[in-house]
Symmetry: D2
Subunit: 149 residues, 4 copies
């Protein structure tokens, strides 16, 4: 399987930190959070980032775009258990193409890295057409946040 | 983020094909299967592979091991909608290290590739110790299935 | 809390039987299917009933209605574990009001009743207006299936 | 289907209020929270109640009991949409039998009742035996919280 490596750097000073508690229903029969739920944790982080920095799902929708996820990577380092609180740090990469690439680090209460991951999203307009260039609203957002091309 | 590339080849003639139907609760507000649910689809494929080839979660547990997932990659190509039937093809890679690496291809009813992914699992014994070498039962299973080191 | 009792009878000869396998991700840290997932099992049964008897979610949608669930009851008798196959029997009640009331019985492989439940759905049109009488298409469906008012 | 009515009263001054935000993955293709997820919201409320009043899942486990849910009822009044914050109010009923009966009210940001529900849990010891009387630890907890038999 081809997995393209992204060497883009994280945009400095543009992050979000979000904490939540492991839910009982998220823990599997091994007593640890089922690995698929981390994709949901990434989404919690991404949406918290979006709310803080005005680039949430609803903000994007108001601009007549949706941003479906086209790639997910998750590396698991440790486990989370029921009752633990975890913290998601979300970063955005300074890529040139018409994509939103975000990285996530999830920490447990002891500040140990539990897992890290990355998602790539593309821009699709109301007609379902893939945008080849960053939409205007996103280009404006990049400028407002000092992400330089 | 470092993403190690795996260049291992798929073991020939050792696959599984499993079909299921998209559930209403799996479809998001965009009318398509929420991207995180594909991790669950991969697990369906992996377990169907395990049942067909005697290497299921329960079989592994009987040998006093568990095989937590330490890496997931998913590339999305198309969307699935409510009511559609999808088919998961699961493959196992011929890697040398003490890991189970599996690949997945999910197809829609028109035989179009919807997404492809990969999972990596390690062996952990009852005491929680990571196995550095393939456990005996897995080594036997490899031989029985003509996976040559 | 008020819980209205329904004394309507099940319509004879109008049932569906559907089987599926417990998924790993559905099992909680007690080793049994998490109780909330049975609501999803009911939906599997309801949709299988709908596909068999031409009253599925998509069929209803084609008639410009949706049927949101306004009440759920679930009584748990036994547990289901990972790897078990369960069978859902779905029944429809012969109620007079503009509601679809369905009952569910879930059995394990030993034909023991694992849980039973009931859902009530109302008809809402495209404008979001609640239907006070059965929509025409549903009234026709009732006649075709010999449900007598 | 028999649905026993509980006429027990809510214990006064023993409640919990918990708020959370609707997640993207919880919203279905109708744009509203899928009805089954409210069972999970009830669990959030129940566990927040448990943390506040020292009767959480982990506290019960330390006393060598588990408390499986044997009945769930949910009445839906309104819908929740993506991005909304909801508030769960959790109450405990003053029942005599060896059961924990809790009631839940979920409100939207406009303080409108979105749904109400009830869960019943029994006590099961380590050997899987159903307790016919309240376990000692729970009887103590009742006294500490002025729940009079």
């Amino acid at each position: 399987m081809k997995r393209k490596l992204t060497n883009y750097k994280r945009v400095k000073n543009l992050t979000n930190t979000y904490s939540d508690r492991v839910k009982f229903k998220e823990v599997d029969s091994l007593g640890i959070v089922w690995h698929g739920h981390y994709i949901s944790y990434f989404e919690e982080g991404r949406e918290a980032f979006g709310r803080e920095h005005d680039i949430s799902y609803l903000e994007i929708k108001r601009n007549d775009f949706s941003t479906p996820v086209v790639n997910v990577v998750c590396n698991y380092k440790k486990s989370l258990r029921y009752g633990e609180t975890y913290t998601i740090k979300t970063f955005i990469l300074d890529n040139l193409s018409a994509k939103i690439i975000m990285e996530y680090e999830i920490y447990n209460e002891n500040h140990e890295l539990v897992c890290e991951g990355q998602t790539t999203q593309v821009f699709v307009d109301r007609d379902g057409t893939l945008a080849l260039y960053n939409p205007d609203f996103y280009q404006r957002w990049r400028k407002e946040n000092n992400i330089i091309d």
